[in-house]
Amino acid sequence: MSADATDFEALLREALAPIDPPADLARRLEVTLVNLTELAQEELESWELSAMRDPRNWVRPAAAALLGASAGTALVLVRVRARHRARKQQTGNLLELAERTMHDIADEARRVLPGA
C-alpha cells in the first residue's frame, strides 16, 4: 500500500471519529429497558391466580404477557400512560379523555411499531 493511500486512510479515520452519545440518551435508554423488563413483570404479579376464574379479568394478564414479548408495545404503553395521567389532571370529561387516549395509542403505535 502506498504512503499516500495510508495517509488518506489515516485522514478518513480522523474524519469519521466515533461519536459519543449524549448522556441523556444513555439514561433514557436505560430507563426504557428497565421499564420493559419490570412493566410486564409487575402487571402479572399484581393479579392473583384466583382472579383468573373470572373471564372478565383475562384481558390484563394477556396484555401483560404480550408486553413481555414486545418491547415496542411496552414503549407505546409507557408513553400513552404518561400522557393519560397528564390529561386526566386537565379534563373532567371522561369521554373526551378516553377518546384522546385511544388516539394516543394509535399515534404511538404507528410511531414505535414497524408496520403498525
Binding site: 469519521l16 466515533p18 426504557t32
Partner: protein, 190 residues
C-alpha cells in the same frame, strides 16, 4: 450441557445490558454518520436497541457464540433504510457540528487540517449507500472485513472489494473537489 445461553429471563436481560453498554457508542456513531444529525441519530439508536431487545434471545441462539455487533449494526442499517423511505429524504452531509472534528492537530495545520476533514466528510456523503456504509463501519466503528460482511450480508471477498472501491472513489471526489471541479457525479459506482 452448558451452551453459553442464558438460563432464565434475568440472565437474558443481563446479557442484553452488557451488549447495550458495549455497543451504544457504535450504534450511535453509525446512526449519526448515516442520518447526519443528532436528533435523528438518537431516534435511530433508540429504535435499534428496542428492536434488538425483541429479538435478542433468538439472535443469541443463532449467533453460535459469534459477536453480535454485526447483527446490531444490521438492525440500525435496516431501520435507517426505512427512515429514508418513510420520510423520503436523503442523508445530510455529516458535518452538523464542525467542532466535532476534534482530533489533535499542530497549530499551523489546524485550519487546513479541518478543511481537509470536512471535505472528506462531504465526499463520504456523495458516495453510493453501500460504499458509504462500509466506510462508516470500517473507520468509525473499527469493524474488520468479516464483521462488515456479516452486517451487510455479503461475502468477505465482496466486502474487501467494496471497501477498496469506496476508498478509491472517495479519494477521487476529494481530489476533484480540492481542484475546484466539484464532486464527480458519475464516479465508478460498481
Amino acid at each position: 450441557m452448558d451452551n453459553g445461553l442464558p438460563k432464565n429471563k434475568a440472565e437474558l436481560d443481563a446479557r442484553f445490558t452488557e451488549l447495550y453498554r458495549a455497543h451504544l457508542r457504535d450504534v450511535y456513531s453509525y446512526s449519526y454518520y448515516r442520518v447526519g444529525n443528532h436528533h435523528d441519530a438518537e431516534d435511530l439508536t433508540e429504535q435499534t436497541f428496542l428492536q434488538a431487545y425483541r429479538h435478542f434471545e433468538r439472535a443469541l441462539r443463532e449467533s453460535d457464540g459469534r459477536p453480535l455487533r454485526p447483527w446490531l449494526i444490521r438492525i440500525a442499517h435496516n431501520l435507517a433504510a426505512n427512515f429514508y423511505r418513510d420520510r423520503s429524504r436523503k442523508p445530510e452531509t455529516a458535518i452538523e457540528d464542525a467542532s466535532m472534528i476534534s482530533a489533535p492537530h499542530t497549530t499551523e495545520s489546524l485550519v487546513e487540517g479541518r478543511e481537509e476533514l470536512a471535505s472528506i466528510l462531504a465526499g463520504v456523503a456523495e458516495l453510493p449507500d453501500d460504499r458509504r456504509e462500509a466506510l462508516i463501519m470500517r473507520f468509525a466503528l473499527g469493524m474488520d472485513n468479516r464483521e462488515i460482511a456479516r452486517a451487510l450480508g455479503r461475502t468477505d471477498g465482496a466486502t474487501k472489494v467494496l471497501l477498496h472501491r469506496a476508498i478509491r472513489q472517495l479519494e477521487e471526489i476529494v481530489t476533484e473537489t480540492s481542484a475546484g471541479d466539484g464532486p464527480s457525479a458519475d464516479g465508478d459506482s460498481k
